[in-house]
């Protein structure tokens, strides 16, 4: 569907380096990375708004590298909605129809379908200024989809929204993707959004692609420290490996899968680590005594830091469990995790 080959871009203060990427037909593909990683630049390059220095971009087999934006048939939805402020909602949505030679009846049919799907038919005669964030984003989606682009590019469409609208738009994106048979390529800095929406994705950092694959794989098996950090693997340790086990500062950690020769690190998700009182009937593998050094509230969960020897494990514990087990700073506890939760790279 979208194929990017050997793409290089030099801007005044930023570079995209050797990007290779392939997005399948009708896929919901997520381009992830921290702020400033180059996600938006890549998106605007696909849209034809930033010229590539070298490399080629194909959309549905067609080489679009030298085509201007208006000939590429890509839809664009920005974080700040970018609705035309001087046009009413109806005029915003139907803006693109005239440039595609779409007959009036067909245009009206599409308009009706999209406004029903997105539940915005009551807004058509209002100006964008008076809409809520969620309404604006739904209008922006309808405007992009009415011309049936080959691919819809979404630049952090959820980031500027209040949490209650965010869920609404997330659901709208899911519905639209299912019902419109369009390839979605979305940019986000929030891994949670990727988990909720996408099938596959790529992590980009400092202008280069770090990892491409199924979202679940990236989540469980990051290939580098920056990806591990991005997907929230807060327990990241440099390790030496011996007989299929890892050693981190004198602590021996069992692995389920034998590490490969080039592996240097292990990583464990904080939600995979359990914190128990100091009295377990049996001592399973990967159980270590330690001291609670800090508790940080994340709302419904707490991040608990447990120091075992010189290693600090970070675990996510629900509030209820925290209260039941009377976990507090300075308490001696046992941390444990399944060898299957330990990922080496």
């Amino acid at each position: 569907m979208i194929r990017i080959e050997n793409l290089n871009i030099r801007l005044l203060d930023f570079r995209l380096k050797n990007i290779h990427l392939e997005v399948q037909e009708n896929e919901f593909f997520m381009l992830m990375g921290p702020t400033g990683a180059g996600k938006t630049v890549l998106l605007e390059t696909i849209a034809g708004l930033i010229p590539a220095n070298t490399g080629r971009i194909f959309i549905q087999g067609r080489d679009v590298t030298r085509l201007p934006s208006e000939k590429r048939e890509v839809g664009l939805v920005y974080q700040d909605h970018a609705l035309f402020p001087h046009l009413k909602v109806l005029e915003n949505i139907t803006y693109g129809l005239r440039f595609h030679g779409i007959a009036k009846e067909e245009g009206e049919k599409r308009l009706r379908r999209l406004t029903e799907l997105l539940n915005i038919d009551h807004l058509l005669h209002r100006l964008p200024l008076n809409l809520s964030g969620g309404e604006k984003q739904r209008v922006a989606l309808a405007r992009a989809l009415i011309v049936r682009p080959r691919v819809l590019l979404l630049d952090e469409p959820l980031s500027a929204l209040d949490p209650n609208f965010r869920e609404e738009i997330r659901n709208a994106l899911k519905t639209l993707h299912e019902k419109t048979n369009t390839t979605f390529l979305m940019v986000t800095h929030d891994f949670g959004e990727a988990l909720a929406l996408a099938d596959r994705g790529a992590v980009i950092d400092h202008g280069a692609i770090e990892q491409v694959g199924a979202i679940h794989d990236i989540f469980q098996r990051p290939v580098s420290c920056s990806v591990a950090d991005f997907v929230g693997m807060k327990n990241l340790f440099e390790a030496t490996f011996q007989n299929g086990a890892a050693e981190v500062s004198g602590i021996k950690i069992q692995l389920n899968q034998a590490p490969e020769a080039h592996h240097r690190y292990i990583a464990i998700r904080p939600e995979d680590i359990t914190v128990a009182g100091n009295s377990l009937s049996s001592m399973p593998e990967n159980t270590f005594p330690g001291l609670v050094t800090s508790l940080t509230s994340h709302g419904f969960t707490y991040e608990v830091h447990v120091k075992a020897g010189t290693v600090t494990f970070k675990a996510l514990v629900t509030k209820k469990r925290l209260v039941n087990r009377e976990i507090r700073e300075g308490l001696e506890v046992l941390v444990s995790f399944d060898p299957a939760s330990v990922h080496s790279f």
Partner: protein, 261 residues
């Protein structure tokens, strides 16, 4: 009520002085000629002709600034490049160059000793003592004002709006006509008015290039020189009224713009 600080009274005193300093001479000017004097001068062919010439040449300068300045203003608003500050400084130069110098400089390249002047004169265009010459210097002094205002207007239009428009299939020119222009026209119009207002009041540069045909400021000067204050005042009043009309439209536009933003 809290007692006002000395600084407040100081500000008030300075402010009153400035406002009075601006308004008193203008009020004196407008009220001193009698209605019959004004009526008399309104029938004077020289007066009407010179005011018409001023309006016509200043308007032409504004239209030229609009035609040539718009693409440049748009370019400056949308692109960052090395040398941009320098280019902007060049565009601002006419504001700081002394006005008679502008006239002399223009004559320098339009004269017979310069190849550009030779080409122009071969094309049958006369600059010295002609309407063309007046429009040329007025454009020179007025164009920075148009470019500034138009550029500000374009900068206020988010580039993302244009990007979305392109992605929806609109070419660059369609995007400009349908998105950028409707959002920036007020700034462009303000620029046109500022440019005309600057041009209509020009004296120094015009008098060097063309004493005749006579624009209103030159006529005022001539009447003052030849006949004294009393005879120059009615012409001055008419010119001020034209300028005030421009100023009035400008204020309405700027206030609306501030309200919309």
């Amino acid at each position: 009520m809290r007692k006002k600080e000395p600084f407040f009274w100081f500000t008030l005193a300075c402010g009153t002085f400035i406002v009075a300093y601006i308004l008193l001479p203008l009020i004196e000017l407008i009220t001193s000629p009698s209605i019959s004097d004004l009526w008399e001068s309104a029938k004077d062919k020289d007066v009407v002709g010179s005011i018409w010439l001023s309006v016509y040449t200043a308007g032409s300068a504004a239209i030229i600034s609009f035609l040539f300045g718009t693409p440049l203003a748009y370019f400056l608003a949308r692109h960052e490049f090395r040398g941009k500050r320098f280019l902007e400084a060049v565009i601002d130069l006419p504001i700081v160059i002394p006005h008679p110098v502008v006239g002399i400089a223009i004559l320098g390249i339009a004269g017979k000793n310069h190849w550009i002047g030779q080409i122009i004169s071969e094309m049958g265009i006369r600059v010295l003592g002609s309407v063309t010459g007046i429009i040329a210097v007025l454009t020179f002094v007025g164009i920075p004002f148009y470019i500034h205002s138009a550029k500000n207007g374009f900068e206020a239009v988010a580039p993302r709006l244009e990007k979305v428009s392109r992605s929806l299939g609109a070419s660059m020119s369609s995007t400009f006509m349908r998105i950028t222009f409707p959002l920036a026209w007020r700034s462009m119009l303000i620029g046109i008015i500022m440019c005309s207002a600057r041009a209509i009041s020009e004296f120094g540069a015009v008098v060097v290039v063309a004493y005749h045909p006579m624009t209103a400021p030159v006529l005022i000067y001539e009447r003052f020189e030849g006949y004294g204050l009393k005879y120059s005042q009615p012409v001055a009043v008419w010119l001020v009224l034209v300028c005030l009309a421009l100023f009035f439209v400008l204020r309405i536009l700027t206030l609306r713009k501030a309200k919309d933003a």
